[in-house]
Symmetry: C2
Subunit: 135 residues, 2 copies
DNA sequence: GTCCGTGCAAAAGCTTTGCAGCCTT
DNA sequence: AAGGCTGCAAAGCTTTTGCACGGAC
């Protein structure tokens, strides 16, 4: 599910650039705090507020997304190609799944409702191979 | 996505019984506070803590679920049959969609990953007919 | 009689925001 | 020069938790 960019103009900021780079460089679907910790050495005066503010801007620009995975905190990702999530019930890890996408289900739902459907999000729940091995 | 009940035994409580009844009686996918306000006249000493504690128990019993709809607060539902959600981007309302279910996509995903898939959740995003009419 | 559930209030998390100064434009 | 962006800190909101008491079993 991609959010449409607002078209609003933003100024350049080094912090935002790096937040996006770090977000793009990881597969861990991190939290704001994780990004903060990661960038703190580079920006010793960085504040969490800045991370949150920039994440909001990146989301508005369509460059990042917030993931609702049932945790008490928000997680983020910068991947913009359509993909789904595999969420592990045991360890909470989130894995991307991009091998298959089902655009046709939007059409199927559209037929039986007057809701104006833009897109969908699918999350698969289960246990990851690491957790399976351990039990 | 249904969570498996833990099998734990719980004592009877009038508050919990009523929370479940009220949750079952509404289609609004309410918040904890909404349930609290709804039941406060009936239990003048009711506390929010009790609502949260009982919601957690109901979820553990498999009688309720938490919904992650991108808001800053949790929303709940008591519907247990498999269904999807239509989430309105404008007003935030959540609608159930039970007319069609796609169990086969679990199988499709299973084939291309070693993740042990139990089930999935789908949320459709767009605008509801009310909001469409207004704009 | 036990010990779980409740009410109350405090605490805990995560996220947002007001403000003054700095940096981009 | 104007106004967004930042750091800092305080505030805000939702959810959780400790404790003493009352009710379920």
């Amino acid at each position: 599910m991609k959010q449409k960019p607002s078209g609003k103009h933003y100024r350049y900021s080094r912090q935002r650039e790096r937040i996006l780079e770090v977000l793009r460089s990881t597969e861990s679907h991190p939290t704001a705090t994780w990004l903060y910790d990661k960038l703190k050495p580079e920006f010793p005066r960085l504040s969490l507020g800045t991370v949150y503010r920039n994440l909001a801007i990146l989301i508005d620009l369509g460059l990042a997304r917030k993931i609702d995975a049932g945790s008490t905190f928000d997680r983020f990702e910068a991947k913009t190609e359509p993909h789904y999530h595999l969420i592990c019930r045991k360890c909470g890890k989130i894995f991307d799944f991009g091998a298959r996408f089902f655009p046709e289900i939007d059409e199927e739902i559209r037929r039986s409702t007057d809701f104006d459907i833009e897109g969908h999000r699918i999350d698969f729940f289960g246990t990851c191979s690491d957790c399976n091995r351990k039990s």
